[in-house]
Symmetry: C2
């Protein structure tokens, strides 16, 4: 994606460093963060300097490759690599892509560290190519003048490039369909208001931010034609874990008969999870709900408390939308219904 006239991926590797766009500072600062070893990359994932299903996967793959590069300097390289693998996997428990990438790079690294780097790079390239294919399939669903609602950020910032939920949006916009996007704010981390709005602004796509409370109002007024969201993990039966609030929007969309699509590469499918009940939901610190950071009138980033002092908050990071609330899943291999047989066939393709 082009920012300030220069082409960027969300996360990439140079030598033994992993570089990524600093997403905690967006939309107020655009800068690149360098993680010099696998531990720094783990911290990057944990603190959400990089976030989003595909970007986490790519960063985790690169981290695993970094561990192989570092292993030679340690007395017990195999033990070092295995410990690193455990550490990387512990950073974010819900994202399927993370575990997928770590396994692939770990297997390749048994041959050589160079092979690990190569595999991590190939996975990042595949993520970008898959996102592009998702955009093409998804674009076929979008009519001229379509008003699309999305939740959280499943744009290029959440993947290596293009994104999943936003990839069809970009394709539709580029093909001159005159689309409009309703961007859910997506509390508590406001990835919609901060990242999706920033992406759409950067790409010139007409949009407006919608408070999470206004979903039923919006849909009941007939303003939303379709909803597209991303996914962090999809169970064998189609139940889908995604950013907290996705399930609520799916319920409301179903109430008003609005098509509700999930966009995700097949690496997001987890055949080992039979249903959504098997998906581990990450709970994060309640400070994400109680505080917000943004620029004051002088442009200084300030963290302010936005809730009553002395009160605590719940902060589940994801929820699981049951398959029967999902109209279809847009993948790099085509669009399928969220059913066990279709998913099994898709993965086997």
């Amino acid at each position: 994606m082009v920012v300030n006239g220069k082409s960027y991926r969300t996360v990439w590797m140079e030598g033994s460093s992993v570089l990524m766009i600093e997403q905690n500072l967006l939309p107020f600062r655009f800068s690149v963060f360098e993680a010099k070893d696998y531990r720094q990359t783990c911290l990057v994932i944990k603190t959400m300097i990089t976030r989003g299903a595909g970007a986490i996967g790519a960063a985790a793959g690169f981290a695993m490759a970094q561990a192989f590069l570092e292993a030679g300097r340690h007395a017990k390289p195999e033990e070092f690599v295995l410990n690193a693998k455990t550490e990387i996997e512990a950073t974010r428990p819900t994202a399927r892509n993370l575990f997928y990438a770590v396994e692939r790079v770990y297997a390749a690294g048994k041959e050589s560290a160079a092979k690990a780097v190569e595999e991590a790079q190939a996975l990042a390239d595949k993520d970008a190519a898959d996102s592009q294919a998702i955009g093409e399939f998804g674009n076929e669903l979008i009519a001229s003048g379509c008003r699309i609602q999305t939740h959280c950020n499943a744009g290029w910032l959440a993947f290596v490039d293009y994104g999943t939920a936003l990839s069809p949006v970009y394709k539709a916009h580029e093909s001159g369909k005159g689309i409009f996007v309703y961007v859910d704010e997506t509390r508590p981390r406001s990835q919609g208001a901060r990242l999706t709005a920033w992406e759409l602004n950067n790409a010139g796509v007409p949009h407006v931010i919608v408070p999470d409370t206004a979903g039923a109002w919006l849909m009941s007024q007939g303003k939303t034609d379709m909803m597209i969201v991303g996914a962090d993990r999809i169970a064998a039966n189609g139940d889908t874990a995604n950013k907290i609030g996705t399930f609520e929007k799916a319920i409301v969309a179903k109430t008003f008969g609005i098509p509700f699509y999930v966009a995700a590469p097949t690496s997001t499918f987890d055949p080992a999870c039979k249903t959504g009940a098997d998906i581990v939901i990450e709970e994060r610190s309640d400070e994400e709900v109680l505080y917000q950071t943004g620029p004051d009138e002088y442009g200084n980033l300030v963290r302010v408390r936005v809730a009553s002092p002395g009160s605590h908050a719940l902060n589940p990071a994801f929820d699981v939308t049951p398959a029967d609330y999902i109209t279809g899943i847009i993948t790099e291999k085509g669009i399928i219904r969220p059913e066990k047989n279709e998913i099994t066939k898709l993965i086997a393709r």
Copy 2:
């Protein structure tokens, strides 16, 4: 309600001044604001220094009384009062209590300014008494150990005292039922996280703040036993206007079979509105979505931007929940089903 050892109402009149708790500064500062004439009181309502269905109604009644007190100093007192009435009614279009109070005080003021003040005072007293009665009826619905979810703030800060949705909560807490409250954050103005959490903290009621995105997660996990919300206007058929996000929670509650109650005095019913389609929904400035104010680490109140620069937002202040999503309406005269016949009978009582 007792704060820092002293008993307060939310809004009251002393001489020709209207005094109220400064709600824009809560929960970070507790202070009293004095509005010396009806125009200042209008500004107070418009800028939400005082807010909430009942408190708006009482403040508007007091403002109308102020206008009668001021009218004697003007060449055309009748014209002055009529203009004031129009100005007061224009402050917040959705709140039924506002129009109800203004009409009542306007009628009384035709006799004398003293009668106008008396009527405004009587309306405020009635608001407090009604809230207390709502608490007693509502408490009958609450089982021991009940986990109650609420949206926005319909506590004593939204009325003259006690509140509506929170009045049963206080009664149940005082009667030792060991209840727990899930407080919806309620973006964009976060009246849940700011005001309801502050009230519950002040009264020692166990609670936790829940992001608006986490409603379906919470209810699907069986954590919520019942939901109680307030109302700004109830149509003749039971359709209910309340804070944006109420309709969405009602849809989710219905999906999971969770009882959904509205608590409101009969002054909230508007027989002139046949259905929710006749209710005017106020749209507010998008700055309420794009910025948040709170104390920084030094305790200074700072306004920060929380959304991507260059993007705009929608900000409907209310939505309408259709009657068939509402289990019952808790009023000062008893609990009714949200049906035309029951509502007509209730108002006639």
